[in-house]
Amino acid sequence: MALTLSDVEKIARLARLQLSEEEQYHVLEELNGIFALVEKMQQVDTDGIEPMAHPHEVALRLREDVVTETDQSHLYQQCAPQVENRLYLVPKVIE
């Protein structure tokens, strides 16, 4: 199961990464190398094995539906690239 250059382009698009053609070839080679390792997984019979998402059998905790956080927008927005009136500024989305 070797990846092609067009697979690499598609994956980059999904991951919002911009790779030059040279980098794409490089990544293609590297990913194919790693996938040879991954193919070994297919050799193991895992019928009836429960997937393990997490080390412990714990369920997500629930809490009371009350407000516990305070407004810290001023503090948290100090590190923002562009902010105006508590809104994050980005290029126009809707034409």
């Binding site: 690499v8 991951a15 990464l17 990544v27 080390p55 714990v58 997500l60 562009q82 980005v90």
Partner: protein, 488 residues
């Protein structure tokens, strides 16, 4: 020379032989003299360090502190710390001053520990050599042309070079244990869920755990006592009764059963590494420990399972870096989509991009079952292997890495080679078990070798016990490298 263990620092401070300010100044001076040789620290704020030390002295005077009050510590650059640049050694966060503090750091600040600075790491914790850092490489204090290991290479190098009595690291696939091994110090990855991940920049959320790195098992136990807490803000944090991880340090090892996995023998492990570990095993036998052979049949398959699962989780965790709310934003772009892709392509290093690409692929439509789901099933098999082995023994023993620290620049170009060298550590993270790495000697080339002890869930006190008994009967952990620690 600042050759004090954490325990010694604590004793000196408690007995008022030295003040917190004096101790901090001594370490800051050593850092100023020697850090440039190895680049262990990437961020220092001496003013803040001394402020914290002054506050610690007040608490020591009042008698209102803990055993750790005034003791200096270094933090891996992965932990958010309010007011400090929290960059994860990445260009993506090189301008990010954390607006809040990670729970584990806050716990140690509350205990009165003094922040010496922030240490170098592989970018976003992805790597085993600290060579992918945006802030340059860190050198192994034992041999400057060799890597310190990774991703907590800066923390390991700082402790080894005595630039800090202790440091925090994080471990997703071996990132505490392996650099501890390569730098000749002791490090622990706790049971998953023991230490809060709130404020620790996420790499692979079902694998990541913060842990202590210091010269001795006793030091690590004292540190862990204050690191562990139930945290409402971490949904994977476990609510357990408070325990003293140092309570069993002096328990005799007579009658303990240690399992040696047969898959680890003749598995590509360097002869010198095996020999050093064998010497430590003989030491344990003298103390009345029984050695048995156990089996972890899915050891080799842990590699692809680990890389599929962690890259999938990483691709999701790193999708937040988009230049919108914090971190790097590209300078030029003509629309939002281009802002995202340019920001990410310019802000992330090559290894990070590669892992995001792999993660994106294994989670994409049509491949989820074959890769991600399959890997989760393998994860179950790996965890089951350990449970079966623990029916035969109390603790599992093995190498940490197949070789001592490689030379700088040696295997960064072969990702498969790099991944294969993680074989002894990653299955522990798949299962979520606790594991400790301690030094067991030096190779002929003068490089440290580490040995790993893997326990069942929540057996940290036992791991510290075994390591402490080894350290009481040997002196490998007392050795100090000469080249990264030049005295004036």
């Amino acid at each position: 020379m600042t050759n004090y263990t954490l325990k010694q620092c604590s004793d000196m401070l408690q007995q008022r032989q030295v003040s917190a300010v004096e101790l901090a100044q001594e370490y800051l001076q050593t850092i100023k003299q020697n850090n440039s040789q190895i680049n262990a620290y990437t961020t220092l704020n001496p003013d803040i360090t001394l402020e914290e030390a002054k506050a610690a002295d007040v608490r020591l005077q009042e008698g209102s502190g803990s055993l750790l009050t005034g003791v200096p510590i270094a933090y891996k650059d992965i932990f958010c710390h309010q007011g400090w640049k929290t960059a994860c050694s990445s260009k993506m966060l090189d301008n990010f001053i954390a607006p809040y503090t990670a729970t584990v750091v806050q716990n140690l600040l509350d205990a009165g520990m003094v922040t010496l600075g922030r240490t170098n790491m592989d970018e976003f914790a992805m790597g085993s050599t600290t060579e992918t850092s945006f802030h340059g490489i860190t050198r192994n204090p034992w041999q400057l042309e060799h890597v310190p290991g990774g991703s907590s290479g800066g923390s390991a190098a700082a402790v080894a070079a005595r630039l800090a009595p202790a440091a925090l690291g994080s471990d997703t696939g071996g990132s505490i244990r392996q650099p501890a091994s390569h730098c000749g110090i002791t490090g622990l990855k706790p049971t998953y869920g023991m230490v809060s991940r709130f404020g620790m920049v996420a790499y692979a959320s079902s694998f990541d755990q913060a842990g202590p790195m210091a010269q001795t098992a006793e030091d690590c136990a004292l540190l862990l006592n204050h690191m562990v807490s139930f945290d409402q803000r971490d949904s994977t944090s476990l609510d357990r009764e408070k325990e003293n991880f140092a309570r069993n340090l002096n328990q005799p090892l007579q009658g303990l059963t240690v399992g040696l996995p047969k898959e680890y023998i003749n598995s590509g492990c360097d002869a010198q590494v095996q020999n050093k570990i064998q010497v430590a095993i003989e030491l344990l036998k003298k103390q009345g420990v029984n050695i048995v052979e156990v089996s972890l049949p899915h050891t080799e398959l842990s590699i692809p399972a680990y890389y599929v699962l962690t890259s999938a989780e990483a691709s999701t965790n790193l999708s937040r870096y988009d230049g919108v709310r914090y971190g790097y934003r590209a300078a030029e772009f003509s629309n939002l989509d281009e802002m995202y892709s340019k920001t990410r392509s310019e802000g992330f290093g090559h290894e990070v991009q590669r892992r995001i690409m792999m993660g994106t692929y294994v989670l994409s439509h049509g491949y989820y079952d074959a890769y991600y789901l399959k890997a989760q099933k393998l994860r179950r098999l790996v965890a089951n292997d350990f449970q079966a082995a623990f029916e035969q023994c109390d603790v599992i023993l093995g190498p940490v890495a197949p070789t001592a620290a490689p030379k700088l620049g040696s295997d960064i170009h072969d990702p498969v080679q790099m991944y294969l060298s993680d074989i002894y550590t990653i299955s522990v993270n798949l299962a979520g078990l606790p594991a400790l790495s301690l030094p067991v000697g030096l190779t002929d080339a003068g490089l440290p070798v580490g040995m790993q002890l893997i326990g069942n869930y929540f057996t940290e006190a036992q791991l510290f016990n075994i390591a402490h008994q080894i350290q009481l009967n040997s002196d490998w952990h007392t050795k100090v490298p000469s080249c990264g620690t030049n005295e004036n």
